[in-house]
């Protein structure tokens, strides 16, 4: 099997079977990463370009290493380096990459819909590496892969996504993926950071963290951006932390085997204190490893010579 659509824009557009296949393919990829020689020739001769309009060294690195472990050639265009700043349109940049023979373009962009826009403009297959507040499908995949590693399966798990849901593409993609695979998803955060009608995505909405954490198997703690406070969305970092930080005390009251996730980078002084971040229940480092494995799986599954829709 393979990914049927040309581009991977979000998990919203994948079936449960397709998501499961990606996650199952990530397992042998992780085995490759454990070897002394970490490369396999699967994508030899292919080229993967990372087109980053947003500064995110860790995500870019993760995609690049994934490509390299599969023996693909890689190149990077980031916003500080190229035509992006000269005002060239996204489509023109994409077509240039096309003309140079790129097979897969990974795009990261601060505008929702940018991945789709690029995908429609280019022949190369596009992987959404995060677009605005819309979607971040590979982050959701690695979060889900980590849950499966720790908990055995997704189905039936109660997963709390905690924090700034309004601005979180991680939350949205996780909601699609988790609900498709049968998890119960709760979102929790201040009402001013809760997007309208999100319950229609099949999640339960909580403003009270203690109620949200009651019976939770997994807590995905989102990073809080300082500028949200500057924009008046909540009164102070202190008050935010009081109401929504994943504190040690809250961890102790949660289920014993609760899994704590964080997409990184962590604010250890705000949403995830060190005592929790460094606890055995926290999977932050595994998530980083699994991110490479999931991205390898995705690139592998998107590299077939099939005629694509």
């Amino acid at each position: 099997m393979a990914i049927k659509t040309k581009d991977l824009i979000d998990l919203e557009f994948l079936s449960a079977d397709e998501i499961t296949e990606i996650l199952e393919t990530a397992r042998p990829m992780k085995e490759v990463m454990r070897r002394d020689i970490k490369t396999v020739p699967a994508l030899r001769g292919k080229t993967v370009a990372t087109l980053f309009y947003e500064n995110s060294t860790r995500t870019r690195l993760s995609f690049e290493l994934a490509a390299k472990y599969l023996s693909a050639g890689t190149c990077n265009i980031s916003s500080s380096a190229s035509s992006v700043q000269k005002g060239e349109s996204l489509q023109d940049t994409g077509r240039t990459l096309d003309a140079m023979g790129t097979d897969i373009i990974v795009i990261r962009h601060n505008m929702s819909g940018a991945a789709q826009l690029l995908g429609e403009a280019v022949k190369a297959r596009v992987i959404n590496g995060g677009d605005g507040t819309h979607a971040h499908p590979t982050q959701a995949l690695l979060d889900m892969f980590t849950i499966i590693e720790r908990k055995g399966k997704i189905e039936g798990q109660t997963v709390v996504i905690l924090g700034d849901i309004l601005h979180s593409r991680v939350a949205r993609s996780n909601i699609w993926g988790l609900t498709k695979l049968g998890a119960h998803v709760r979102v929790c955060g201040p009402p001013t950071l809760m997007p309208k009608d999100i319950d229609k995505m099949g999640v339960e909405v909580f403003y009270d963290i203690d109620k949200a954490l009651d019976g939770a198997d997994v807590v995905n703690v989102l990073r809080i951006q300082m500028e949200r406070q500057q924009k008046g969305l909540f009164p102070s970092i202190e008050e935010y932390a009081k109401n929504y930080a994943m504190t040690e005390e809250r961890l102790n009251r949660a289920k014993k085997d609760v899994l704590i996730q964080h997409p990184g980078p962590m604010n250890r002084t705000i949403e995830i204190p060190s005592a929790v971040a460094d606890s055995a229940q926290c999977s932050v480092e595994e998530q980083v490893t699994n991110g490479v494995a999931c991205r390898m799986a995705l690139m592998y599954l998107m590299s077939g010579g099939e005629t694509l829709v």
């Binding site: 919203e12 349109s89 996204l90 489509q91 962009h109 505008m111 929702s112 819909g113 940018a114 789709q116 826009l117 677009d131 605005g132 507040t133 819309h134 979607a135 593409r169 949205r172 997007p195 309208k196 009608d197 999100i198 229609k200 995505m201």
Partner: protein, 431 residues
């Protein structure tokens, strides 16, 4: 002088409650007779059997972009697009570059329209200088130059005090103020209607409340000032409700709705097609329902296209960066014919009324009637032939339409302005 005879059509003129199969004789630019079996051997004759003959369509809200934004549209191209769409009279908004906030600007638009010589163009002047919402513009002088209404369209008059002053001042001219209703603080840079779809797409939400609070404010200010207020592009159910209340109270408030707000919902934004980006944004199915209901009932007086042509470069960008608006002249009639008349929501007569008689009436324009002696502004509609929308065949420079490829009926096949057929069989004639 010249005589033109339209033979055998179904004549619908809501201004006279007329709906019958008859011939229409036009003489010297005026309606000379509407009767059965007119014999006029010396007249140029057109067989319009099976077609609908109605008063020329009137659009009280469009953007012709000239001066300053000629890459999007010119008065010449916009006039031709209007004629192609069956419009005989249009009112361009003043948000050009510079803003039409002076008598000279108003005269410029009229002169350019005269040169183009296609449809009648009645300019709208700005309420405030530069449409900045700070100082009143010379509304009286602009009225003398030919402005027929005033608006800062594209922007709200944010200051309640300035809006109050504008309303009071408008008693000098007696001309309507056209309000673009949005509270920019509540809009908060939103890209589409706030709701489930904006949440899923990760686009910033623009809540219905941003429009409704301003409609409420302006109705209250009309109660204070007694000014003649027209509310542009109403898009929400609660907006309709408030206008219904204002009218019941007897306030001099009128309102318009666009073809796209009557036929599309926020669901169309999925896929990030920037042709669906409009201001106010496409709303929910319940809003569409209320707007159709309001239009039928007369709470919403008329349809206005908000024809807003843009270049490809303005639209083929990230959704957030895309310009607002739809190139609407050339699809307005068939879109509404197909979606409202063919669907049984409005009668033929009701749609013609809302696109011709009512807009003319509320703006005090000498249009919207086939009564004998009136200017012969006539639109002929083919009610049944189904054609696909082809943006590449638009006369407008703006190809920004979400209707491209849609199969529609109710296409205008002849547009007559002052007795002269400016468009025939979908072809606009060289003047």
């Amino acid at each position: 002088m010249s005589k033109l005879l339209l033979k055998g059509g179904r004549v619908i003129d809501p201004s006279q409650a007329m709906d019958l199969v008859a011939d229409v004789l036009i003489e010297d630019g005026k309606i000379a007779a509407v009767e059965k079996d007119i014999a006029a051997a010396d007249a140029e004759c057109r067989d319009v059997t099976g077609k609908i003959v109605c008063p020329g369509l009137v659009d009280i809200h469009c953007h012709l972009r000239e001066p300053g934004l000629e890459r999007k549209e010119t008065i010449a191209t916009g006039s031709r697009a209007a004629a192609a769409g069956g419009f005989t009279t249009v009112m361009p908004m003043p948000n050009t570059s510079p803003v039409a906030d002076s008598p000279a600007s108003i005269r410029y638009v009229r002169d350019r329209a005269e040169e183009a010589g296609v449809v009648r163009v009645y300019p709208i002047g700005a309420i405030t200088k530069g449409s900045e919402g700070k100082e009143l513009s010379e509304m009286s002088a602009m009225a003398d130059a030919g402005a027929v209404a005033f608006s800062d369209d594209g922007r709200p008059v944010l200051s309640s005090r300035i809006m109050r002053l504008a309303m009071e001042y408008s008693h000098i001219t007696g001309l309507p103020l056209i309000a673009h209703e949005e509270d920019l603080a509540l809009v908060d840079d939103g890209d589409m209607n706030e709701g489930y779809v904006s949440t899923v797409l990760g686009l910033r939400g623009n809540p219905a409340a941003a429009e409704e609070t301003m409609i409420a404010r302006d109705i209250i200010l009309v109660r204070l000032t007694g000014a003649r207020l027209h509310i542009a592009h109403v898009s929400t159910a609660h907006g309709v409700e408030m206008i219904r209340g204002a009218k019941a109270e007897g306030l001099p408030v009128t309102a318009e709705v666009t073809p796209h707000h009557l036929t599309m919902t926020e669901e169309a934004v999925r896929g990030y097609d920037t042709n669906t980006k409009v201001n106010p944004p496409l709303r929910t199915a319940a809003d569409v329902e209320a707007l159709i209901e309001g239009l039928k009932e007369g709470v919403i007086d008329c349809v206005a296209t908000d024809h807003a042509p843009h270049t490809v470069e303005d639209k083929v960008v990230e959704y957030h960066f895309a310009a607002n608006g739809i190139s609407g002249f050339e699809t307005a009639l068939p879109v509404l014919w197909t979606e409202l008349v063919k669907e049984g929501r409005l009668s033929e007569s009701e749609l013609i009324d809302r696109m011709s008689c009512q807009p003319a009436r509320i703006m005090g324009l000498p249009a919207g009637s086939l009564a004998v002696g009136h200017d012969a502004d006539v639109t002929v509609i083919d009610p049944d032939t189904i054609l696909a929308v082809d943006k590449n065949s638009f006369y407008s420079k703006g190809k920004n339409t979400p209707y491209h490829g849609r199969l529609l009926s109710g296409w205008p096949v002849m547009t007559i302005v002052g007795g002269r057929a400016v468009m025939e069989n979908r072809v606009v004639k060289e003047s």
